[in-house]
């Protein structure tokens, strides 16, 4: 038992992302064995569609978490709700206005991101508290703005959100492109390297000439913009926006980042792991559903799984003191 755990630990240390893919595959196999192979294709396409939403949001959250200890964005759910409502209102069910709706959603994201960082910087408060306070305001804005708002998405936009290309969900392909870009930006650009450097040691990064404030600002804007984009897509997918459609994404975004093998302490991130972790999270729910367990057991299992994974992967190793 102990040796298994330690083996798992070394494995998790070498390839943190492999763990999530391995888990996702194991769970998928268990489900298929249980159903005798019935509905395998269906499960994969659904998992890809719903997993995609997790990936988009978690990509932003990963940028923020990478920027160092204590950095986390709690305003994601309210941003999703507000951006969803705004984009649906601007699009107004009209195909010609889709682009404007998307731009408006991203505008909401940029505004929220700037507000978040302004609070962090001007009040010099921890990001958890800043994004928490901001989320209260954004949430109220979306309640007041979205009251009684029930606008269906434009036909073409709904088609994009629910459609398929060569049997694959269009959304999944779109998100794959997004993660490739996200990965290149994080690992190959000055900005991305700066985010990682700040996450490893903010003071050292600052002394080495990294413009810490500007990089962190950009990071919060990127995170909020991706959440906003997800809000618009989610509204298109589910036939209109609703106030609580972002709720599950706060916990999910953090969980996906952690299960995907990024360090919660920052400075180390993993884009590929996001996909593995998203599929893992969604397939876990599907498997428990197939086994016929109730909502209560399903949530307990999901929660214990998150705790178990972080326990095996372990926390940040204490640095030299």
């Amino acid at each position: 038992m102990i040796s298994t755990v330690s083996k798992l630990r070394t494995f998790a240390g070498k390839a943190p992302w492999g763990f999530s893919f391995f888990g996702a595959a194991a769970i998928f196999l268990a489900t298929i064995v249980f159903t005798d192979g019935v509905g395998a294709g269906q499960i994969i396409t659904t998992a890809l569609t719903f997993g995609t939403m997790y990936v988009i949001v978690a990509l932003g959250q990963m940028y923020v978490i990478t920027a160092g200890p204590g950095n986390v964005d709690l305003s994601i759910p309210s941003t999703i709700a507000l951006a969803g409502a705004v984009s649906m209102k601007i699009m107004d069910g009209n195909d010609a206005l889709i682009l404007w709706g998307l731009l408006a959603a991203i505008g909401v994201g940029i505004a929220v991101g700037c507000f978040n960082f302004a609070l962090i910087r001007l009040l010099s408060i921890p990001p958890i508290i800043a994004t928490l306070s901001a989320s209260f305001l954004v949430q109220s804005a979306s309640i007041a703005y979205g009251r009684g708002l029930r606008i269906r998405p434009p036909e073409a936009f709904a088609e994009f959100a629910t459609g398929r290309i060569w049997g694959l969900p269009t959304l999944a392909i779109f998100a794959l492109l997004l993660t490739v870009i996200g990965s290149v930006v994080l690992h190959r650009t000055v900005y991305g390297r700066s985010v990682t450097a700040i996450g490893q040691n903010q003071r050292a990064a600052g002394l080495a000439g990294v413009k810490v404030d500007r990089v962190r600002w950009t990071t919060y804007v990127i995170c909020a913009s991706l959440a906003a984009l997800c809000g618009a897509v989610l509204a298109g997918f589910s036939g209109g926006s609703s106030l609580n459609m972002g709720e599950e994404y706060l916990l999910a975004s953090i969980a996906v980042v952690v299960i995907g093998g990024s360090s919660v302490a920052g400075g180390q991130s993993n884009v590929a792991g996001l996909w593995g972790a998203s599929l893992f999270m969604y397939l876990l729910v599907t498997m428990l559903n197939t086994f016929g367990v109730g909502a209560g057991i399903r949530m307990i299992m999901t929660g214990l799984m998150i705790v178990a994974i972080i326990t095996i992967a372990g926390g940040p190793k204490p640095s030299r003191t």
């Binding site: 010099s124 214990l304 705790v307």
Partner: protein
Amino acid sequence: MMPNLMTPRALRSLLPAISFTVLLIGIFYVQPRAMSFMGLNLMLNLALPIALATIAQMFIITMNDIDLSLGGFVSFTACIGATLLGESPVLGVLALLACIGVYALLGALIHVRNLPSIVVTLGMSFVWLGAAILVLPTPGGQAPDWLRAIVSVKTPFVPFVIVASAIIAVGVHLFLMRSSTGVILRGAGGNPQAVARAGWSLFRAKVTLYALAGFFGVLSGLTLVGLTTSADANIALRYTLLSIAGVILGGGEFVGGRVSPIGAVLGALTLTLASSLLSFLRISGDWQIGAQGAILILVLALRTLVNRMERRK
């Protein structure tokens, strides 16, 4: 000895009281009829469970950790209070004690494996919510009579909720700020190395703080279900964010075990009052959460100002 009220330190600790008073004066100005036993009772009716949850969160924040599962935990204990506790009191009490035990275990796990509390409690929030759904699949249940009797005690002159809040605030203050155990607990958050080198066990400090948080979480769930008489699995989910906001409003900081029990209770009361002021001003309920956020930002801005003042000296 009269402390100088104009020092940044004194100002900072007075800030929660000041913001509470300003809000109360605002309410009395807009609606003078609220200035009565009945008015205060109505406005602060649901403040007690929030205050207790805020104290629970404060113990976690003392250790520089954060508990994202508190809302789910309070919901779960409320569900037990509405079902098991009435049906078979012994089993109910055992279940609640086990809950506190789980919190202590979480503290141990987080300490031993050096885990980020945010992720562990995030996972636990799913567990508590799932457990609450198992205990109480549909809203309902019935709080035991004795529980309802306790929370609806009528005290003379001052509403019970204010008396109880004051007792909690002062009691926890004496324990955490004045007792030698309290000093070690705060020290474990403020300067763990110093505490460890002086020979105290960080492990025990962390387990104690988590167990205390579990204890006050249970109290919060019980008072909540006593007030509402029935429960549902989602009854207290918003307490997670509300309790963090309350601690911060009350002068808590995420560094160095800087917390204040009296401030935390005042912070919880302030957040509860904010919605009353809004309804007296005839502002739509849509902005209720937003107003709580705005108050939070305002108080934080004032604190930053005080801190800047301190640095300039």
